[in-house]
């Protein structure tokens, strides 16, 4: 069991509010990723769930029981820290045993659990070594092992891959996903890397400045971001934003004028914008993912000036300029384009996202 429910959770350090009214329901066995820029409060939220920080308001429930007053030790959770926080003066075996010894578990059972976790994580050969004699990847496994032996109701992972090199990060990410599939416990994972979030999560919680911006599956967030922030945060390279003005509202679509007098028609299922109808003259922001832009010169395509070309082999990233607004396109294959060229970006068929002046998504877009 590992159901965690947060109701109006608040946390402040003096006058600084770090968490503002967090409401979240995490189901048993779910892999939830908290993602957001640094300083958004995601680590603090994790630490309040762990019991390492006391909340200033609201309620935390684990499996239906209020745990606000329960200490970190007794919440039955295990945590993997960013720095791994292995005890440097103890061997790997002692590191794994420490938590179990503290809960007065009989020695044979401790040995058994360590053996099992060591086998699962393939750290058996290093059990007698000290953390200082292990590589980054091995330390990371030990840190996860220390959580596994506890058989916690939920795992809390605080940026566990950030100290690994890029290659190891990819393989460990896959192992972590496999581990979750095998153990089936609830996992809460904090990261600032949206790729990790997209690949691992059942549900992603996007946070900014102490608030939850959106909760949803990776594809929900990608396809229908609730606001400009989420739209810009999820997806790499991030979404292009063009400012425009409503020229005409029709049934099923809205026509905007964007920089340079270009007209852009956005299909719209429901042209109501947070309660009120879209009107001509309203300022909106259009979002286009770089991957949806094609290099075609057809009616309605945008003439842009190329600033920088990043040839990645399989795809080409083009940094371009449209009347002073930056526009990024990722096109498949290799293109003979150099900075200074004038090319046409076609948005035909691209899903377009509309955001109002407060950055909120226009419903139906």
């Amino acid at each position: 069991m590992g159901e965690i429910k947060l109701t109006d959770v608040k946390k402040s350090y003096g006058a600084v509010d770090v968490l503002k009214d967090i409401n979240l329901h995490i189901n048993d066995g779910e892999f939830v990723v908290f993602v957001g820029p640094s300083g958004c409060g995601k680590s603090t939220l994790l630490r309040t769930i762990a019991g390492l920080e006391k909340v200033t308001g609201g309620e935390i429930e684990i499996d239906g029981k209020r745990v606000n007053e329960v200490t970190a030790a007794d919440r039955g959770l295990a945590m993997v820290f960013q720095s791994y926080a292995l005890y440097p003066h103890m061997s790997v075996r002692q590191n794994l045993a420490f938590g179990l010894e503290n809960s007065n578990m009989p020695k044979p059972e401790i040995a058994e659990r360590i053996q099992e976790a060591a086998r699962m994580l393939e750290i058996e050969p290093y059990l007698e070594r000290r953390p200082g004699q292990l590589s980054g990847g091995q330390r990371q496994r030990v840190a996860i092992g220390r959580a596994i032996v506890r058989r916690p109701t939920a795992f809390l992972l605080d940026e566990p891959l950030s100290n690994l090199d890029a290659e190891l990060r990819v393989s460990t990410r896959a192992e972590l996903a496999a581990l979750h599939a095998r153990i089936g416990s609830t996992m809460i994972y904090v990261t600032h890397d949206q790729v990790e979030a997209m690949t691992l999560a059942h549900r992603i919680v996007v946070m900014r400045a102490g608030r939850i911006e959106q909760v949803g599956t990776p594809l929900e967030l990608y396809n229908t971001p609730a606001n400009r922030f989420v739209a810009g945060f999820i997806g790499a390279p991030h979404m292009n934003f063009l400012s425009g003005e409503v020229q005409e509202v029709e049934t099923g679509s809205v026509t905007l004028v964007i920089g340079g007098g270009h007209r852009l028609t956005v299909p719209l299922a429901d042209h109501k914008l947070r309660g009120h109808k879209l009107k001509a003259g309203e300022k909106l922001t259009v979002g286009i993912r770089p991957q949806h832009i094609t290099l075609e010169n057809n009616p309605g395509s945008l003439p842009v000036k190329v600033r920088l070309v990043e040839a990645l082999g399989s795809e080409t990233v083009i940094h371009a300029d449209l009347n002073g607004e930056k526009l990024l396109a990722v096109v498949q294959g290799q293109k003979q384009i150099v900075p200074g060229d004038e090319v046409h970006f076609s948005l035909a068929g691209a899903p377009l996202h509309l955001f109002d002046q407060n950055g909120l998504r226009v419903k139906g877009a």
Partner: protein
Amino acid sequence: MGAAARFILRRKGGKGWHWTDIVTWVWLTGGLIIMFGPAVWLGFSSFKTPAALAEFPPSILPYVTSQATVEGYDKPLQLFNAKMPDGSTRVLAEVRRIGIMSQMVDPKAPGEIVRININDRQPVRTLSFATSNYTEPFVHFDFLRYLWNSVFVTVTATLITLVVNSMAAFALSKYEFRGRSAAMLIILATLMVPLSVIMVPLYSIISSLGLFNSLWGVILPTVATPTGVFILRQYMLTIPDELIDAARMDKASEWQIYWRIVLPLTAPALAVLAIFSVVWRWNDFLWPLIVLSRRELYTLQVGLSIYSGELNVQWHFILAMTVVTMIPVVLVFIFLQRFITTGIAGTGLK
């Protein structure tokens, strides 16, 4: 030439001498003499006889003037290399000295008295180590009893110091509470209060606790040291808080966090403090002198003062016993010095 010699002898000026080379050599050589001179002098002088100690000008090495028993004289006579008027040199024994003239005899032919100007004779001296300086105090002086008292005071005080100071340091470095910095500041401020200021109140406290004339009276007032708290706290601040969080998640009690996580990781700083504490307690003189008035409770340092306290000052014993009292301190340094270096270099704990 070995690598060590090359390292020591290398110069900025390459083959020539840059002025900084000269300054460096003068400075370092001077420093070496100032630092090591007294220790070397002490070491050698502890083997001198009282007569050799009183000699002027003093010598570094322990020389003994050779003596010979000459027929017709009751006491042994001192031997000199005397320059004869004809320019030859003979070994003569001095019978007596009158003014600037010395009356001497040839030990082989004691009948004839030779008069020599005292400037024309040099004493015959041989290197001799008066080991009795060391052996005699063990017999006459209650050395072993004083040694035991000193060891007891030093070891007990050091252990208590480490425990008490590390607890204070743990609280001051790992717990957030109102007035934490103020508490630290007050502790550090006590560094400015010298013993002589608090001696009288401390004495009355010790006396009213009934610890007068007890080794515990020497130990207890010294165990809480601001320096120790400061050293340990600064070191503990470098221990990542995530380790403590991890221990909390691992169901460790606060005592276990202190005892099993923080204390082992503070070992380098504890070693430094242990060295300091051993040296302080071993060398303590004034406070034990005040608290202890019964001879059998004396520590070594107080016991040593007996030699100068009675009718005359027996420097040869004092010097020898000073060397003996230095040995434990030197040993502590030799065995714990690697902790001092790791203590300085190892703050980059990952």
